[in-house]
Symmetry: C2
DNA sequence: AACCAGTGTGTAACCGTTTACACCGAGCGC
DNA sequence: GCGCTCGGTGTAAACGGTTACACACTGGTT
């Protein structure tokens, strides 16, 4: 069928060991043989078989990536960070989407056995510990945005990375409540770890701000635009009516703004709106959406670095849980920035106020949209 | 180290062959042995090794996917279609990004040998035939949006899928020129296959419409937002000034609209703008952007189906080149749809006119943006 | 009684690599 | 001349599965 190392060896008049040594630069080979083998391999178009190599070396140079989905602005950016870092370290990516389904995750995990050296797992809807428990102790795993119940907080049993959902939500809600507004939240579901943390930040911020807080102001959502639309309608029916809405992600915030606009409610004059994630579209909607910027790409990049580190040290390193900072980005939907009519405001995020650091948004966006 | 099939066999008091037969449902095994093996395998948490399996069966159940990038609205949607279809057929995905660099592509191709059963390759910037030429004849490949110079048009040497760049551009330019407008184009680069086809559609549409056409009205771009911004400035300096701009993709169209707005030029009254791709953001910018909708997700899905078909038939099937239709979507930036101020127009694509079919945009978007 | 079909099982070859080990010269100090 | 190291090479055993083949046993035909 295909041309194997034996074909090359026979053709070049040497043994397979010598061919292997030349191709991997392992062990001494005479210059003459070296040249002839190189030439033969090129002529025969020989390419070593990955599966055989992996089996023999017990190393695949491949990282498994298991995300809830593979598309959408959020996951896309995660993958970007993962891909970029992995390829820099000459590793391949075996990706799969779990659809947050326990069976699918378990199946994917089983299927990856022997095909990957380590795993990056993102599963915000499920307890990750029970998922990775069946895996052998020596198998390196990095968790992304997962609830990690097991182990003490300062000595986790598995590596984990999170963005600062709590802190970001806290900052946003303090900002929204700052003008004496009554703040409602559209949540992201009870099962979701990110959603729970953001809700916790919301509650603590209101408490610390001395602002009023009612259970009815916590409207359930599911991270999708439609939920934001529906939830905003419910907010409008509340008495006293909240004067600010914190949506647990940007998609729901955008849905909420749609609903408010249809109802003739002005944003931000009547009701201010804030989101979470700072997806690229946030700066483009009208009015430009205040949000919490999370370093999504960096999250993926750091995950790969941690995984490779574990690989190098035989997974004997000390496990850590790391939280990446989130930054408040104030645009017009919460009263900051420039008014809607002026110049590029709806199209370019030139008028945003960022805390505490200044970001440079156009670069990222300009690269992200083109194709080909 | 890990638990292998031999461990299971020893523990269950049978031979490896029997264990293998049970786990794969191949060949007859007594009910008693079957039960004991199942129980033992579960107790030992045995999971077969993928690499060993691939090597032995000469089948990996994995598809290679090589794209210019892995992120951004466009590629993200392609991956979505690929992932969804592949997992439905129980195949895994080994993905890689090429950055349109010849060396990287060749390296990735080599690395995939023995790890994948077939390949989906998207490389709009490069002649794909010279890329896949080194691959063995028996290795199935599906090209996406590639220039395929080799072979007669009706008997291509390799499977290929494209979207109707020419037809979509043609429809858009006929639409823009319909009101007697002078249409300029912002191109996507000479090397890019998609860009070339869209330029061809532009030229033919102007010719068929009997509209004026000048070489100076073809402004070079590169598919990125910044290029659209710069190109629009150049358009404004032309005399007579064009009254419509066809940007070869949406990212450049959005950049162009920014530039026009900064210059105080009204869109669409003074200059109408049309894009290409219909990325999710297109309906959200202000004014909502007319574009050409391409079935990106379906492109990925079809590619997988073609690949699996080739796999089933030992790659002996007859190669085909297929073109997926593109649809004109008229929104306000080209004079269609509702005016900017009314209701949800800037936020929801409720006011768009679609030809020839009606699409249902909210569904896709609502799923695409959330995370978790 | 010889034959055959069919079921259940084990042995061993094979998939395409890497690599431990053995071996053989050559060069060199003693 | 003897033992040494050391560069260069080949042989064969892994790696962890699948599977062709042989074989044993059972029960029903001829």
């Amino acid at each position: 069928m295909k041309v194997t190392i034996k074909d090359v060896a026979r053709e070049a008049g040497v043994s397979v060991a010598t061919v292997s040594r030349v191709l991997n630069d392992s062990g001494p080979v005479s210059e003459r043989a070296r040249r002839r083998i190189r030439e033969t391999a090129a002529r025969l178009r020989y390419v070593p078989d990955g599966a055989a190599r992996s089996l023999s070396m017990r190393k695949t140079n491949t990282l498994g990536v298991l995300l809830p989905e593979l598309y959408g602005e959020f996951f896309s950016e995660v993958i970007r960070g993962i891909d970029h870092t992995a390829r820099r370290h000459h590793h391949h990516l075996l990706v799969s989407s779990s659809h947050s389904d326990r069976c699918e995750i378990e199946a994917a995990l089983a299927a990856m056995r022997g095909r990957v050296d380590g795993l990056i797992l993102m599963s915000p809807d499920m307890d990750a510990h029970t998922l990775v428990a069946p895996l052998p102790e020596s198998f390196p795993v990095v968790l992304l945005n997962c609830a990690t119940e097991g182990g003490a907080a300062d000595a986790p049993t598995v590596d984990a990375l999170t963005v600062d959902n709590y802190g970001g939500a806290y900052a946003m809600v303090r900002h929204l409540a700052g003008d004496g507004r009554r703040v409602a939240i559209i949540t992201g579901g009870d099962e979701n770890h990110d959603a729970r943390e953001r809700l916790r930040g919301f509650r603590d911020a209101l408490r610390d701000a001395g602002a009023e807080h009612r259970a009815a102001w916590e409207i359930p959502g599911d991270f999708r635009e439609a939920a934001g639309f529906a939830a905003a309608a419910r907010v409008l029916a509340l008495r006293p009516r909240p004067t600010a809405i914190f949506a647990a992600n940007d998609a729901m915030a955008i849905g909420a703004i749609s609903a408010l606009r249809e109802a003739g409610v002005r944003v931000p004059e009547d009701i201010a709106v804030g989101g979470f994630d700072d997806i690229p579209m946030a700066a483009y909607v009208s009015p430009p959406l205040s949000s919490v910027h999370v370093p999504i790409t960096e999250l993926g990049a750091r995950a790969v670095e941690r995984l490779l580190h574990a690989l190098e040290h035989g997974n004997t390193h000390v496990r850590r849980r790391e939280t990446l900072p989130a930054r408040l980005v104030v645009r017009h939907s919460s009263g900051g920035g420039r008014s809607e009519g002026s110049e590029r405001s709806a199209l370019a995020p030139s008028a945003e106020r960022v805390e505490p650091l200044v970001r440079s948004p156009p670069t990222r966006r300009r690269h992200g949209m083109g194709h080909g």
